[in-house]
Symmetry: C2
Subunit: 278 residues, 2 copies
């Protein structure tokens, strides 16, 4: 059917979402990018019965492709794992491989508990996340409500440089209260900070972007507008960077980095503490 | 200083954000929850020089706590890894442990490439994410713009049952175009679907929530409002669930599951394809 034949089937098996197994698997598979993999997530495998169904699928793929599938597992429960080991896949036992050395080093047995969700921490974490998300949404660009006093961080930069996605990511992933402030022409014409931001200068972090990239992004949003013209983009970016430099605000060019990387760099640069844990 | 003394320092070391190392480390450490760990992320360790600085920190923690720190690494570059191995930490070499068996199984050498970012895929992925995020933001609750025709999925449910965070997560994590529609009193009073949704019934997925939990969430948002009264919450939840059942819409109770789990269950139940990969 497809022009590129598939070299292997890959299964991610876990007793919860499979996100950890997928991230590990992707990191490993990107080291072999000449091959084409069919990747299937099998989440919530938490009983021997469900494990046996997974084994049927793995064995089916072994027959179909004539090569044994790769199976990345974060299963902990020994009975469920036992079933998966009966499959014809090659198992990468991502957690158990390290549990035994950890037990020896720490001098205590592991709980071998399935999908540990950190007991009492769950609701507190959920609330911190949702509170942070609501904060980010109500302190975003267009909104007049600006609770800068309560913000952990305030991202500043020109329109479409990546402030909104970064704020949402910081809130969902780390529970950080992230506001943002778009630098518009009025702000860019002056050489000092807008008075609203002056009070909170320790919370400021600047984002900038390559003018060509900005033009591309703005053109998709508003084709043929003066807002999307290269000259306008270049003017705004230059003026914003001038403010960051003269006001000694830490800043980052987002042009070639992912949202995860922007967030990580912000945490590292500012020493900002996460509000969510594990 | 703290009442709970720290048993071990834990370092997450990577050449990029450290998110994979942290997820793996957290999964492993939750199996030992009687112990208290100090967890430090050291991202962007991509030169031997930066690795030597990391080694100093690890060795400092070994002195401070009198026990060797745990080091979870996703480093690939052999020269950088060599430096880390000189530390007095106990190294968990999360990727390399599996790279060698993978090479043998696949019959080709790995690229040993640092922070692979999937070449040409980056901009396409970035754009898919931002497009999806903008879609989620402009098709959220209060907004009148409803591009249900273009949506991959439409989440329906009463106010504050988890629609917005789930839509944002689906967009950021998977690039899925997720809209949502709040079921208000007018919708709940009828026994069939609102006409607007009837056309798109194959895209619908219902979210519900325990009425007590809903009361708690609404009370924090609007204390002492009729909106937050237990009776109102119970009425709305019952009416919404009745619609899901009678209209045969797949649905999920979000009360005790994380946003990641809600998203995973939605993908699994609907067979919806991700638009972002690796």
């Amino acid at each position: 059917m497809s022009e590129d034949p598939i070299d292997r089937a890959v299964y991610f098996i876990s007793d919860r979402t499979g996100i950890t197994a997928e991230m590990m698997g992707h990191s490993l598979l990107t080291q072999f990018e000449s091959l084409k993999f069919e990747q299937i997530n099998l989440p919530f495998i938490d009983t021997p019965e469900k494990a046996r169904q997974a084994v049927s699928r793995i064995n089916g793929a072994a027959d179909q492709y004539g090569k044994r599938p790769l199976v990345f597992s974060t299963l902990i429960n020994p009975e469920v794992m036992f079933e998966i080991e009966q499959s014809r896949g090659m198992i990468f036992d991502l957690l158990n491989t390290f549990i035994h050395p950890l037990e020896e080093e720490l001098g205590i047995g592991s709980a071998y508990a399935v999908g540990r969700s950190h007991g009492m921490g769950v609701y507190a974490n959920y609330k911190a996340r949702i509170d942070a998300l609501n904060f980010a949404l109500s302190n975003d660009d267009g909104n007049t409500l600006r609770q800068f006093k309560d913000a952990d961080i305030i991202l500043i930069g020109v329109s479409r440089c990546g402030k909104t996605p970064t704020c949402l990511y910081l809130s969902l992933q780390y529970g950080i209260l992230a506001a943002n402030y778009p630098l518009i022409d009025d702000d860019l014409e002056r050489s000092n900070l807008p008075p609203e931001l002056e009070t909170y200068r320790k919370k400021l972090f600047g984002l900038t972007i390559d003018p060509e990239r900005l033009q591309q992004i703005r053109t998709e949003r508003r084709p043929d507008s003066s807002y999307a013209e290269y000259q306008q983009c270049q003017y705004e970016v230059n003026a914003a960077e001038k403010i960051f430099r003269s006001q000694q605000i830490p800043w980052l060019d987002t042009s070639t980095v992912s949202i995860e990387e922007i967030a990580t760099i912000i945490l590292q640069t500012t020493g900002l503490e996460r509000r969510l844990h594990g």
